[in-house]
Structure formats: structure tokens, C-alpha cells
Amino acid sequence: MERYSCKKYEWVKVDKSKCDGCGACVEYCPRDVLRLDGQGYPYMAYRDDCWYCDVCTFMCQLDAIRLESVPYLIK
């Protein structure tokens, strides 16, 4: 098992079949949590700054990103 795979735990999930990499979620995240990865898809670069506010879901015009869960410590 890859050593760090368990640390990639994220609650914001991207549907890559819908995402066109426009970056709106990255631009409008109020806590600057998201970045685009090497393939142009958003990921939680600063996961623990997330306020689970759902702005990323709301600002996505393609319904490609969603808050799958509230953060683990809260769930």
C-alpha cells in the first residue's frame, strides 16, 4: 500500500466525467482550499481549511463537484 494514500482523504469529490477544468470552484472557494492538479481537476490542496460551506458545489455550473460529506471529525 502506498504510504501516504490514507492522507489523501478528501470530502470534496470531483466527477471527472463532468468537470471541464474551468477552475470556478478554485476561484470562488472563500478559504482558498482548492487547486487544480496536473490533469486540470480540482483537489483539496488545503483540506483542513475547509469550512464545508458548499460554495464549490454551488458555483459549479456543470454539477461536477460536490461535498460528499462533512469533515470526518464532525460527521
Partner: protein, 615 residues
């Protein structure tokens, strides 16, 4: 990464609800004015209502209330520690701001806000008064509409560029310095007028679930407004009145009592009994909650199951569709349902300093002027008790107008700043050799100490210990904070702001020798309200000569209206006689066995066993 110098007429620090209104009204007042807005995030979604808002918690509108009614309510819930003129202004101006909101969003009366059969905005009861001063709102797009207006008017918007320094020259405001948290671009702005609208100290106490961002307030609000004002020499007040949030347990968002109670919901304890007469966030209600836990009747719940099905469905739409939309998902993941009486567990969570929901902040008058010329403040960082979102709109608008008028009459004072060395100082955590202290650990450390040493009921020795931690963290921890990028660099400033606010809160609390505002300033060494403290602020201010924090008392402005200045509650008589325990015979403090070992071996611990296999 570059350095830019800007000349401005008005600088707005924080583009939230108050800040966007300030920028709009500054431009409306003087369209030629160069208005700059700085924000930690993008102004479309930043601040306390980035995802929308579901109510204006205090208004006066025709048919329901008058500005005097707002004065009456706020005099009562602040227990008389307020400037009644500010409360009156809040009531007098909110109707015009409601009209502004309908204009900016392009929505009609009856859509954004409910109207009754007479065509008046329809209000509900919430406050501990007989007046209906609560107006519901379906405001998911409010912030986008305000941001659009700001940009349309030609304000210079610096997104993701928080201000980290505020400058004065000869006691007057002269500029700010900020940097972009992605690119590191720096901005030195020379201006005669700065409006602080950077929100509350949301990141203050630590939530009990342990998640740093799992807090009631927007986690970008970390007290920079308080700290910038303090270091500029402004007076701050009511920092001893803590916001002791009653929240949806673990979710730590609003429950949301203010949406549910005006539709017939109520708070009950673990036995299903109503534990207090109202659900308004005044200190008496928090004290009642604390009592339920202290006497073994916690947890407490927000009860909805007795409401009609159509009301419950309506509440689900509002509660899960605006402000903190993940609420619905949170409930579903816990198999909770509003149709069961014990579905919304509540708890007293992290303490916060805030004006909107409480009373703490920068001292301002009804024109949003602070005690520093050229410095204005509005919203959650400016002390207008219990002003909520309406206060941000009303006083944000006033600040914009007044600051623009001030700027038209006053040139920006000269700004003598060594930008190179200033930036070197700000970015020191980036340049520090590894490993240093990760900024998250420093934040956990100060916030856990705040929770342990400042959470009410307040203990004098614990608050003194907090001051010891403040001093120690400033000397030992702050210089060792290490970050790896600009995104995290702002957190080093945030930790400094939190530490400054912790000191202000502890010193103010130790100065007010009484208890007041229920749990919010329940001080065990002085467990009763003292009439000698009626009508008196505790003021915190930096001595600009010595750099020391000074605390003093001063009277609130003379009352214009003679309304009751208290709520009907009493502090409990705490009797803690727990008996004598057991007293065993005394031991000899001289123990030749251990002193002999010290004499023989010194303080080193001998290695008696090896983990390696013998042979």
C-alpha cells in the same frame, strides 16, 4: 511576485457584508473616489454570508416595529452597556438597506423578504420583547449581488489580499499593507481613510470536535480588524462579553434557532422539558443552558417535531438551502429527522469575540468613527451590540459615506514605510530555516489554551495563566512559526491576531469586577451583577508610547431612552461544600532512599537493560 504602490481615497479592509456595502456607498457618495477593497477571499463568496443568509435578525419595519423598539430590545439584551444612538440608527436605516438589497438582487418584495396582507414586510417575534423585530429572508445570492455592484461601480478589488498592517502618521490613518495569498504580490496603499470590516474573532476558542475550521463563524475571520485597530491606537470595548455559542453540536453551525423559533420551535433539555423562557442569544439563555448541563439535564435539543408538516418542510428548504447548506447532509448522515423531538442536539461550543451576535469590538459612534481620525469600522468587528447582519448593512453603508466625505476633506498623510524591510518582517515565517513550528500547531496551541483558560464561568487564576501563555507564545512560539507558501503565510498573522485578542479578552475580563450578560461574563470571583458597573464600558487600548496594553472604564453615552437595562434572571448560589475527605498521618519529607540514589547516580537515568538480545 511583485510590489505595487497605490494611492486611494478609501480603503475597505474586508469585503464581506459590511465591506461591500461600504464600498458601494463610498462610490455612490463620490463616484470619483478611488475605493479599494481588500479581502482574504473572493468578495463573491467570502465573509459570514458567502453561501447566503436566511434572515435579518433585527429590523424595524412599518407595521411591526419602530427604531425605538430596536433601542428597547438592544438596551435590554446588552444590559445597558451600549450607545443607544447606534441602536436607534440601526432601526432607522434598515428599511432603506432592505430596499437596496432588493435593488441589487433584482428581486421583488415578497420574494427576497416575506410581506403580509397589508403589503408590509412580515416580521416575527424573537427578541425578549413584545415587538416583532425578526425578518426572514431567502437570500442565497445576496453576496454575489453585492459583489457585482462593487465591481460595477469601479472599485478596485484585491481578492485574496488581506491587509496585515495599518499605518498612522501623527495619529491619523495613512495607509495599509497587504499581500496576495497565492502570488505573494504586495500592496502598499496610501490613503486618508480606512474602513475596517474584517469580521469577528471567529477562530478563537477551539471546537470540542477538534477540527480547526469546524467553527460557527467564517474561519477567515480571525480578529485582524481587532488587532489592526488596537495597534493603531483605537479603543476597543466589551471584550469581556464572550459569545458563548449555542450551536448544533459538532456541526457547529447555527441550529438554527433563529429560523426555527419564529416558526414555533423551542429548546428542550434531555428530559424533553423547556429549560428557558426564550431562545434569543442573550447571556441569560446561555446561562440557562450551562445550568442544564451542570445539573445533569444535558444534552439539550432544538425541538421541531410538534410543528405542522408543511412548516417542517419549509424549514428544511430554508435551513438546507442557505447559509450552511450542508446541514441537511449532516442530519442525514446521522439519521436525524426534524420529525423526532431529539434530532437537533445543541451544545455550548467554542467561545468567540463578535459584535453582531454579541457585543465585542472596536468602539464606534453612530457614524462608525473610531477614536483614531480616518479610521472607521463596521460589521462584526465594530461594537454595536447584537446588530447581526442588519448592522453590517446599515453601518457598512454609513462607513462608506462618512469615509468618502472624510477623504474629500483630508489628504492622505505622508506614508514613511520601508516596504522592503516590512515585507521581510511579514514573510519571516517563509524564510525561516526548516523545520520550525508548523503554523497549524501554533494555532491549535493558542486556541486550546483559550478554551481551557477563558471559557466561562471565568476563573481569575486561569485567566492570569492565559496571560502567561500569551507572553510565552509571543516570545517563544511566534518567532519559530514556519510556513512553506503564501497561502499559509497569512495564518502566521492570524495566530498573532488571535493571541492579541486573547490578551485583550483576558485583561478586560479581569478588569470588570462583577458578572454581567449571563454566562458571557460569569466571573466566579465576582459572581453577581454590581450596580456600580451599570452604564460603564471596559476599554482596552494600546499605549502608543510604551506599547503596553491599558485597560480602563468609561461611561457609555448618556441614555436618551429610559428602557429596562436588564433581563429577568439571577446568578446561581454555588455551594461547593464537599466535606473533608480523608486525612492520613503526615509523611516525612526527607526520604533517604531517593536522596541516596541521587547522591549515588546523580540525575542521569542509568541504562539497566538493553533491548538487544543477550549473547
Amino acid at each position: 511576485m511583485g510590489f505595487k504602490q497605490i494611492d486611494a481615497d478609501v480603503v475597505v479592509v474586508g469585503g464581506g457584508s459590511a465591506g461591500t456595502f461600504a464600498a458601494i456607498k463610498a462610490k455612490n457618495t463620490n463616484p470619483q473616489a478611488r475605493v479599494v477593497v481588500l479581502d482574504k477571499g473572493p468578495i463573491e463568496t467570502s465573509g459570514a454570508i458567502g453561501r447566503g443568509m436566511d434572515a435579518l435578525n433585527v429590523v424595524s419595519v412599518p407595521g411591526y416595529g419602530t427604531p425605538e423598539d430596536v433601542v428597547e430590545a438592544l438596551t435590554k439584551v446588552s444590559e445597558g452597556i451600549l450607545d443607544q444612538e447606534c441602536a436607534y440608527t440601526l432601526g432607522a436605516d434598515i428599511y432603506d438597506r432592505i430596499k437596496d438589497l432588493e435593488e441589487y438582487t433584482g428581486r421583488e418584495p415578497g420574494d427576497l423578504f416575506p410581506v403580509d396582507d397589508n403589503g408590509n414586510y412580515k416580521c416575527n417575534f424573537l427578541h425578549p420583547t413584545n415587538k416583532a423585530l425578526y425578518l426572514a429572508m431567502d437570500g442565497e445570492e445576496i453576496k454575489r449581488a453585492l459583489a457585482r455592484e462593487v465591481r460595477k461601480l469601479g472599485c478596485i478589488v484585491l481578492d485574496r489580499t488581506p491587509a496585515v498592517r495599518l499605518f498612522t502618521t501623527d495619529g491619523k490613518v495613512s495607509g495599509v499593507f497587504g499581500f496576495n495569498i497565492r502570488t505573494g504580490d504586495q500592496y502598499l496603499i496610501n490613503t486618508p481613510a480606512v474602513i475596517l470590516t474584517s469580521g469577528c474573532v471567529g477562530k478563537f476558542g477551539m471546537p470540542r470536535d477538534g477540527y480547526l475550521s469546524g467553527i460557527y463563524e467564517f474561519p477567515g475571520n480571525t480578529g485582524e480588524g481587532y488587532a489592526l485597530a488596537y495597534h493603531a491606537g483605537a479603543e476597543l470595548i466589551n471584550l469581556e462579553c464572550f459569545q458563548t455559542n449555542l450551536l448544533m453540536k459538532d456541526f457547529n453551525g447555527p441550529s438554527c434557532g433563529y429560523v426555527v423559533i419564529p416558526r414555533g420551535g423551542c429548546g428542550v433539555n434531555a428530559l424533553g422539558e423547556r429549560y428557558w423562557s426564550h431562545g434569543y442569544w442573550s447571556g441569560d439563555m446561555f446561562l440557562a443552558v450551562w445550568r442544564e448541563f451542570a445539573e445533569g439535564r444535558g444534552p439539550i435539543y432544538l425541538k421541531l417535531d410538534h410543528l405542522p408538516e408543511e412548516t417542517i418542510k419549509g424549514l428544511e428548504k430554508i435551513l438546507w438551502g442557505t447559509e450552511r447548506t450542508v446541514r441537511g447532509q449532516f442530519h442525514k448522515q446521522r439519521d436525524e429527522n426534524y420529525r423526532r423531538w431529539d434530532s437537533v442536539e445543541q451544545g455550548l461550543e467554542e467561545i468567540t469575540l463578535c459584535s453582531g451576535h454579541s457585543m465585542s469590538g472596536i468602539l464606534v459612534n453612530k457614524d462608525t468613527e473610531t477614536t483614531v481620525p480616518g479610521l472607521f469600522a463596521a460589521g462584526d468587528c465594530a461594537s454595536v451590540p447584537h446588530q447581526y447582519l442588519p448592522g453590517a448593512f446599515v453601518f457598512g453603508a454609513i462607513a462608506g459615506r462618512v469615509a468618502a466625505e472624510y477623504a474629500a476633506k483630508n489628504k492622505a498623510p505622508g506614508l514613511d514605510v520601508d516596504a522592503y524591510n516590512l515585507w521581510k518582517e511579514v514573510r519571516a515565517p517563509l524564510d525561516l530555516p526548516e523545520p520550525g513550528i508548523p503554523v497549524e500547531l501554533a494555532e491549535i496551541k493558542i486556541r486550546t489554551r483559550i478554551s481551557q483558560y477563558l471559557t466561562p464561568p471565568k476563573s481569575d487564576p486561569l485567566m492570569q495563566k492565559m496571560l502567561w501563555w500569551v507572553d510565552r507564545m509571543r516570545k517563544e512560539d511566534l518567532p519559530q512559526i514556519k510556513v512553506c507558501d503564501f497561502h499559509d503565510l497569512i495564518k502566521a498573522t492570524e495566530v498573532q491576531s488571535i493571541i492579541d485578542c486573547a490578551e485583550m479578552a483576558a485583561r478586560a475580563s479581569l478588569f470588570r469586577t462583577e458578572s454581567r450578560w449571563g454566562l458571557s461574563h460569569y466571573r466566579l470571583a465576582y459572581p453577581k451583577r454590581d450596580p456600580n458597573w451599570d452604564g460603564k464600558y471596559v476599554v482596552v487600548k494600546k499605549n502608543m508610547s510604551t506599547g503596553e496594553m491599558e485597560v480602563s472604564a468609561k461611561p457609555v453615552p448618556e441614555y436618551k431612552w429610559d428602557y429596562p437595562a436588564r433581563l429577568e434572571y439571577e446568578y446561581p448560589e454555588i455551594k461547593l461544600d464537599i466535606g473533608k475527605g480523608f486525612v492520613h498521618p503526615p509523611n516525612d519529607s526527607h526520604d533517604p532512599w531517593i536522596s541516596g540514589k541521587v547522591a549515588e547516580e546523580g540525575l542521569d537515568i542509568p541504562k539497566r537493560m538493553s533491548a538487544r538480545q543477550e549473547g
